[in-house]
């Protein structure tokens, strides 16, 4: 039974290098997670193995190369505490020291070789770690910023120091083994070969880069197309299907077409305040309210807003009052179009809701009608604004809302 459970658990936690809580590359942490033991012991084993002719370092390096990193950071993975980091680095130093000591004592390999090799290894590790980091950052930030973020400079410094460490190690190794003139000859030969290879492969490189570019462009195109297709399917095609079914009801068709036009326009021109997003500016809020009234009452709302500012508590109340005025006009005026005009000025915001409909006699409105008195006038007054109504039978109606802007909201 228990072994079964273990395999299941093991299958769930395949060996993955840690993202957080790591000191070098997260290999030891990953193995510790996999085996379910303390990280300390894994590190200790690596250190002990290192003492055996550097096996630990090589094993660590191989695991680093071949074990993939976790795709996402586990929530509980915090960066290592200073104490843990100190402990890990201490273990590393201990292991390396032991390795050097053992090789010196056994005399199997000359100290002249081990020293430079160790330096080169450390350099390689630094570069590798940087590459790992850069890749991670790329995943996190998207393709645009890569190594050239704010940390670009430090990354460059780290890469440069790593490369020079490697060069130093190899150089010292070579110098100690061969004579100077031999080195020169070998260096020239190596450089010439490298240059030749670079020259020969230039077309290959260019092709590679171009292919990559082309591939990326094609992918972006495909993704965009898919997104547009999805959107058109969700909105336009559905609406057209509805319109075909309802062709006998011109009012409904007009309502659908108007709603769809507005949505598509918002989507195309980026005024994106979807169904869940609350508008945060006055113009967006007025546009949203106008759209809702258009949809609900199947009339057209001609809406113009000059200037814009952030929505605060009072201005939200004003937009709600304006919406109520639109609803009134849609219900009672008997017109197909309403004009809504908003203007944001330095010290106040004005909204006019106008129709050319029946109009009414203000004196003859029954006492029990609350729409205008409460929802519009009362709401405005409660928030420090004011509402004026101009109307008369046959003259249409215009509701003028004015709300002073708060001192701190001015910019």
């Amino acid at each position: 039974m228990s072994s079964q459970v273990e395999t299941v658990v093991g299958a769930e936690i395949a060996v993955r290098r840690r993202r957080g809580g790591r000191v070098v590359a997260g290999v030891a942490g990953g193995i510790a997670d996999h085996l379910g033991v303390e990280v300390f012991w894994v590190r200790a084993v690596f250190a002990a193995l290192t003492a055996l002719n550097g096996v630990g370092v090589i094993a660590y390096g191989l695991l680093w190369i071949f074990v993939p990193q976790r795709t996402t950071s586990a929530p509980d993975e915090a960066p290592p505490k200073p104490r843990e980091r100190q402990q890990a680095i201490g273990l590393l130093a201990l292991g390396l020291g032991a390795a050097v000591l053992v090789t010196l004592l056994t005399g199997a390999v000359s100290g002249w070789i081990v020293g430079p090799l160790a330096v080169a290894l450390v350099g390689a590790a630094v570069v590798w770690r940087e590459a790992d980091e850069a890749q991670r950052r790329r995943w996190r930030d998207g393709a645009r910023s890569g190594v050239l973020g704010r940390s670009g400079r430090s990354a460059l410094i780290r890469i440069a120091s790593g490369v020079s460490l490697v060069a130093l190690g190899i150089g010292v190794l070579l110098f100690s083994t061969y004579q100077l003139d031999q080195i020169q000859f070998a260096l020239v030969a190596v450089l010439a070969t490298l240059a030749g290879v670079a020259l020969l492969t230039v077309p290959l490189w260019i092709k590679l880069v171009n292919d990559l570019d082309e591939e990326r462009r094609a992918r972006i195109r495909t993704e965009e197309k898919a997104e547009i297709a999805a959107h058109l399917h969700d909105s336009v095609l559905q609406t057209l299907a509805l319109i075909q079914k309802q062709a006998e009801a011109p009012r409904e068709v007009r309502r659908l077409a108007r709603g769809q036009e507005r949505q598509l326009r918002d989507w195309l021109y980026g005024r994106d305040f979807g169904e869940n997003a609350r508008p945060t500016t006055v113009s967006a809020a007025i546009a949203l309210a106008s759209g809702e009234v258009e949809d609900t009452f199947a009339i057209s709302v001609q809406q113009v807003v000059v200037g814009d500012c952030d929505l605060d508590h009072n201005l939200l109340a004003m937009v709600q009052a304006a919406r109520e005025a639109m609803v009134n006009a849609a219900k009672h005026a008997g017109v197909a179009e309403i004009s809504v005009y908003g203007e944001v000025e330095a010290d106040s915001v004005n909204v006019f809701v106008r129709d050319r409909g029946k109009g009414f006699d203000q004196g003859s409105v029954p006492e029990d009608r609350h729409g205008l008195a409460d929802s519009i006038r009362g709401r405005m007054v409660r928030h420090g604004g004011e509402a004026k109504v101009r109307t008369g039978p046959g003259e249409g109606t215009e509701v003028h809302l004015e709300m002073p802007r708060k001192q701190e909201a001015r910019s």
């Binding site: 036009e261 021109y269 980026g270 057209s300 001609q302 113009v304 807003v305 000059v306 200037g307 004009s339 005009y341 203007e343 000025e345 330095a346 006019f352 106008r354 215009e398 910019s411």
Partner: protein, 220 residues
């Protein structure tokens, strides 16, 4: 234009279906208008307008090979008598301002009713400017002297007079010229004069501010 003569209209739009629709509606609704020709691209439009010399060109803003502003740039100086009325599905500020600046005498969107379109055509042919409420809003926005707006460098040119601003405001509120006149206690003729001078200022005011204003709002 003398009375009794029909307004000769030339249609420019890259959608043949839309041209056919507008043509049919204009022909059926009104005796005041005669569609003399149509074009589906900038090149065709330039040739056609030069050939027919219409009174009014109904001009689409977006076309594959350059758009309404390109037609205006190529034709306007040679034929100063031809009046252009932009008719577009777009009501993005940048499009509106661009064709008005290029010399169009008015701007209406394609959702306009046929009767209103006829009225607009007749009005521009008589030398009037047709400002939809939305267009009036854009112009007010572009000329705003509120704090934070672009600095004004040539006050003579770039500022609207308070009266012009009042007229535009009422236009944006959906008032007809006649209603504006009675609201401001001026004659309809004076309203028209104000609107025309707003149009002139829009065409002359410096391009930098308008485009900057548009890009500030991410409309470009």
């Amino acid at each position: 234009m003398t009375d009794g003569e029909r307004v000769r209209v030339f249609l420019v739009d890259d959608h043949a279906l839309f041209r056919a629709g507008v043509r049919a509606e204009l022909d059926s609704i009104s005796d005041e208008i005669e569609v003399v020709g149509e074009a589906g691209s900038v090149g065709e439009a330039v040739t056609g307008i030069n050939h027919h010399k219409p009174d009014v060109v109904l001009l689409d803003v977006h076309m594959p090979d350059g758009g309404g502003a390109a037609v205006l740039a190529k034709v306007r100086t040679a034929l100063p008598d031809v009046v252009f009325l932009a008719l577009s599905v777009s009501d993005a500020a940048e499009d509106v301002i661009a064709v008005i600046r290029a010399g169009a005498r008015g701007y209406v969107t394609k959702t306009i009713s046929s009767q209103e379109l006829v009225r607009a055509v007749v009005r521009v042919s008589e030398g009037d400017a047709v400002f939809s409420p939305r267009l009036a809003g854009f112009v007010l926005d572009a000329f705003a002297d509120r704090p934070g707006a672009a600095p004004i460098r040539d006050p003579e040119l770039d500022l609207l007079t308070p009266r012009e601003r009042d007229v535009l405001r009422l236009l944006a509120r959906g008032y007809a010229y006649k209603e504006i006149a009675s609201e401001l206690f001026i004659s309809v003729k004076t309203v028209e004069t104000h609107v025309s001078s707003v149009l002139r200022k829009t065409q002359l005011s410096n391009r930098y501010e308008l485009s900057r204003w548009a890009s500030d709002r991410r409309l470009v």
